[in-house]
Amino acid sequence: MPLFATKLTLAGGALYVAYDSGLLGNGKEGSVALGRAKDAFPPAVEEWMKYFGFQLPATPKIEFSPLDAWNSGVQKSFHALSVAPSTASDYTKQGLQYVKDLTK
């Protein structure tokens, strides 16, 4: 009986902590909880590193951002399409000028 009561307390406590920190709520609470976890993660890692006495290698900084690059293909394609007529006319004029210069 005491063992079962201990188990019940442990499981109930874990469930209560999850409920209290907003982990089981709606989407807004979930994203707030994720933000809090992200903010708390680096100091926690640093404290653990100090406790165990070793240094983790520094994370390499990646310049690429998927968020910014997501639509870049579509944007570049449509930019190329929008300037295509003027670019084509420029190249045609240059080509005709070159041919004229050759025939002089």
């Binding site: 188990k7 442990l10 499981a11 874990a14 469930l15 999850a18 982990l23 089981l24 709606n26 989407g27 807004k28 979930g30 994203s31 909880a33 994720l34 933000g35």
Partner: protein, 76 residues
């Protein structure tokens, strides 16, 4: 709904999905260790519950823009 609003909703959905997955996994592990002699099924069940909650939240969030919400004046 504007594209910016839709993007924010999707961001919230993904964040909530990650949180609920982790919570479900964690609680599943706790229950598996404490009550069910370290079997796998409570962990899978907990993870599934978390993902289901995240899906339901996402669905409500994305639909909320189109659902009529009445505000009934509270009678004093």
């Amino acid at each position: 709904m504007s594209e910016k609003e839709l993007g924010q909703k999707w961001d919230r959905c993904l964040a909530d999905c990650a949180v609920k997955f982790g919570t479900g996994l964690g609680l599943g592990i706790v229950f598996s260790v404490v009550f069910f002699k370290r079997r796998t099924w409570p962990i899978v069940f907990g993870t599934g519950l978390g993902l289901g909650m995240a899906y339901s939240n996402c669905q409500n969030d994305l639909r909320s823009h189109y659902v009529l919400q009445s505000k009934v004046a509270k009678e004093q």
